[in-house]
Amino acid sequence: MSSIDLPSTPKPSLTRFVLPIVTGAGALFGLLTGSAMDSPSPGLVIGAVVGAALAYALVSFMPSRRAGRWAAVALFAVIGLLVGGLPGIVAGAAIGGVMGWITYWLSTGDYRNTVPIYYTAPQVLWHNTYLFICGLIFFFLIAPIVTILPLSFNAEMFFTFTPKMLALDPEGYSLRHYRDFFSNPDWQQALANSVKIAPLATLLSVSFGTLAAIGLSQEHVPFRRPIMAILISPMIVPLIISAAGMYFFYSRIGLQGTYWGVVLAHAALGIPFVIITVTATLVGFDRSLTRAAANMGADPVTTFFRIQMPLILPGVISGGLFAFITSFDEVVVVLFVGSAGQKTLPWQMFTGLREQISPTILAVAAILVAISICLLTVVEMLRRRSERLRGMSPA
């Protein structure tokens, strides 16, 4: 956020612009707090008065943005403590943060920062509404994951926020579900199975997939489209159909309920991801490089490993990651094709959801989310590396 006011932006009026909006926001929060305490009208009035006072005070007496916002947070935290005890502090601090931010956002003219200078007031309003809507959609995307995390520290055996948790009572929280995950043989066995199945499936799909992707990216490939359609089909065919088909067919040939059955099934499901990512990398691949290598006397194998492979490696790795996560997160096919000996983590989670009351799955979920974030970072870094590498190669 730039703190330099553009000369052409007039400073918004305090009484005609900032004050009414902040008062409105205060009234809204007041109404919510009031109705939570069964007295909506007084809440509305008190909220409006506090909001107006805050806006006036901050704009007039607190030119330092940082200090002003902390002051707002502190003020509302105290109000929260008076009204609702310990959880009130948290809620109050949050409301204070929002109020402080709104006040400065409006009063310094920051709200016009993201739009061109010639925008009219309704256009600015529309743009900010649009940003607000986008914020809500992002919230929709993230909210379920955020909800899961605190619940995984639940001290109870059920999936709900207990009153103790809401009151921020330390007794309402515990690490028991994490302990259960690390000590329960069922979960450990499931984890071990997942770790045994996913890498092998990934290896299969990556090695077959990369080879085929290189073949597909040649200039003259007969039946390219139908072949591509067949290779991508495991991603497109509904899982339940793949699972049913594999269940029947693997039963017939004796693969149902075996380790190799699950590995093969998962490898098949992962292949489209490898094909897609590797062919995408190969699209930008400069063929003159391999010709140059051949020209200098390198045989095809050397050319592949010394020239082609390093350049398409990011694509191969991210395809491999997709294939890995496909196997690691797959539940429908393994439910049908596997048997007890191949019970994977998702299977155990599915059982946890259906057969027994076990919030351990929330702890597992939290761990998996953490792993996902790590993997995501890896993919992002690989992508940047790939772009850098390709930028270096003569296009």
Binding site: D186, R252, A340, R354, I357
Partner: protein, 369 residues
Amino acid sequence: MRRMTTLLATSALAVTASATFAQEMADSMTLVSWGGAYQASQRNAYAEPYKEMHPGLEVVWDESSNEAVAKLRAMNEAGNVTWDLVDVVASDAMRLCDEGLAMEYDPDELLAPAPDGTPASEDFGDLIVSDCFIPQIVYSTTFGYRTDMVGDTPPDDICDVFDLEAYPGKRSLEKRPINNMEWALLCSGVAKEDIYDVLETEEGQNQAFAKLDTIKDQVIWWSAGADTPQLLADGEVVMGSTYNGRLFSVIEEQDQPVAMLWDAQVFDLDGWIIPAGLPADRLARVKDFVKFATDTQRLADQAAYISYGPARQSSAPLVGEHAELGIDMAPHMPTDPDNAQNTFLYNYEWWADYRDDLDAKFQAWLAKG
């Protein structure tokens, strides 16, 4: 060359050694059960003690009892049965026995006699409802309700489930016709002994559906045993049907404000079947385990972990206190005289014949909701 011969001799020896060992008993065993508290009780009461007696034995659990018939059929088709012992309800056992997927056995040869020498066939009595079925427990499907959501007059009659005025709120019922149809008829005025005769007719079935229609939009349908306990604990439903052992663990172990409605509880049996066509070594291991796991003491021990009645008459007097809570288990058994004032006996034969027909109608009825 000499080295080669030695190598061959050693490996031949190893092969014979493992072969002789294999002929005795396999060193791993896959048990199939229902998961949750029930499987835990089996694990604690007999799988763990048995493992202690036989170190080196690997026991794998599979929570697939729900799909046991389908999976056994698929395994049989492939000629590759990976399960050694499967826990199923009596009706599934009959079905598996009919299709030749389960092994027929002789109770007095396979199962241990009672401590006083009563042969197993008498000790289990008529609970051996099929030639393949090795009974373990008597359980009941019954209702639990939230004590804090039913006002001052807690429900004491099965028909309170259908009474939306007195007990508003959602109920959870199992997503299948069995039990629900009987309860619906019972509450639409059919006498208990006529239920199955009435249900056999088209009008009777419509009568049952009509009764269920009155609460249809207030029902959450469950398909896994853990659903109703979870729904009750969350306060999502006022009352719901499930297995009595699941309710016991919600009430006593999880300490939730839930109580039992024992009226018109439906008794059912659960037990083991041995899949047909096991190789000799695995069969020997399973037979050894089953003999141990179904003896009088073991079945009584199981009741220390879950409130299901042991299937042996000789086990009943040995039922003691809960393993962790230390409360007396007898009053929590479905067979306790106080709880069993009005019970309902699940008619296996009838459902074996009508299950497919009614299932199709029931599912169609559900989908049209």
